[in-house]
Symmetry: C3
């Protein structure tokens, strides 16, 4: 039943910690999508003629700066949170210490929350850009540590192949 | 060789079920990309001047409402199917019953298929929006169940840290 | 501690090989984001009024063809590299031979690098489109192999359910 596997996975505290913050970030992305929909309804600005027609007529098939701001926030999340979901999961497998790993996840989580806040509430520049840059630091750190961990295997594979080991 | 691991993973029937629907959804996204390309060729509307020049001249470097519709469908898929790939994989590890898990995956799969159909075939509103909302239900459900499963570990970590257990 | 699990995972040479190329592709996506930011600063074309105001005034709150080119490259990466991160991880679990798996990953990696190069350096059409198509081949191949591997489990699940096995 793969039961033993599941227990192993959840007993990996680093992985559980990663999952905790990741799911919160995914929910945050869902909330941006809901906000986008609410702004569309409030400003009466729809991306599709069939939606506009249902809400008063084709004149509401139009763009709106507030809607576009939500979309940019969502797009930036996609470009940054999705790679984190991958890097964080793999990073959990290379055996980092719990304290160091949690620091990575927490910094990313907090500064991506700030990024969204800065985007949607139009906080003064460069708050948003700074939040983006700081959240990238743990991602780059995880990427480098993962490459260091697997490159030894990758190299031994390669040498193994060459010498038919 | 990790062989035992692989067998464990595939013997996890919930995970296999998740993978089955996920891969179909990924293929669906690839098909949207192919359709977008076909619409570009048919309507002669290219996003890049170098493509336009190859297909008759710079006047074809332009936007087109049908192309934009395909892109919106694809974008919405990215924003919803990609988080599902993460949530579903983690959900498979927290030991749900196969019947309940399959219901989650199947609802998401069917309503995301309907969403794409409603988008590309311009079905009457609010078909597309309803499909979107219903497909979100299993995602929110999985997110909540995952948080409940890992927060006990996360909390015990935290308490463990504090008391040096 | 999940230690044994981690070792199992990293001893899966196919998985390590997949992780190696995947992380390089994620870093490539981060680099596109950095390039986009640099082009924005150089061309003075900002997506947000608050950024424009910080860099000389609201007249810089505008679109720019070079910025949009970077964004298209990034978007295309999101649409293709993110599904690869999922397919490649699952493919690593179904026990392919290392040589075949590495060929899949390497073809995808090389042609996605060429795709970005062709996009950002405006290489003559159809270089970019060809790179896209060739990089899709290993993805489709992995998708088909995964479906073949899990459908037997999915079917046995289904039969098991029906007959209460």
């Amino acid at each position: 039943m793969g039961r033993s596997y599941q227990i192993m996975m959840l007993e990996n505290k680093v992985f559980s910690c990663f999952v905790f913050y990741s799911v919160l970030l995914v929910i945050k992305m869902y909330i941006i999508a809901i906000i986008t929909g609410q702004v569309r309804l409030r400003k009466k600005a729809f991306a599709n003629p069939e939606d506009a027609q249902r809400h008063g007529g084709l004149q509401h098939f139009r763009e709106d700066p507030d809607v576009e701001r939500c979309q940019r926030a969502h797009r930036n999340d996609m470009e940054n949170i999705v790679p984190f979901l991958f890097l964080g999961a793999v990073y959990s497998l290379i055996g980092p210490s719990l304290a160091v790993a949690r620091a990575h996840f927490l910094v990313f989580f907090l500064f991506r929350m700030l990024h969204t806040l800065a985007y949607l509430c139009v906080l003064r520049a460069p708050t948003r850009s700074l939040a983006y840059v700081i959240a990238q630091v743990p991602c780059i750190s995880m990427a480098v540590q993962i490459l260091a961990a697997v490159s030894s295997y990758a190299c031994s594979d390669f040498i193994g192949d060459r010498f038919n080991l």
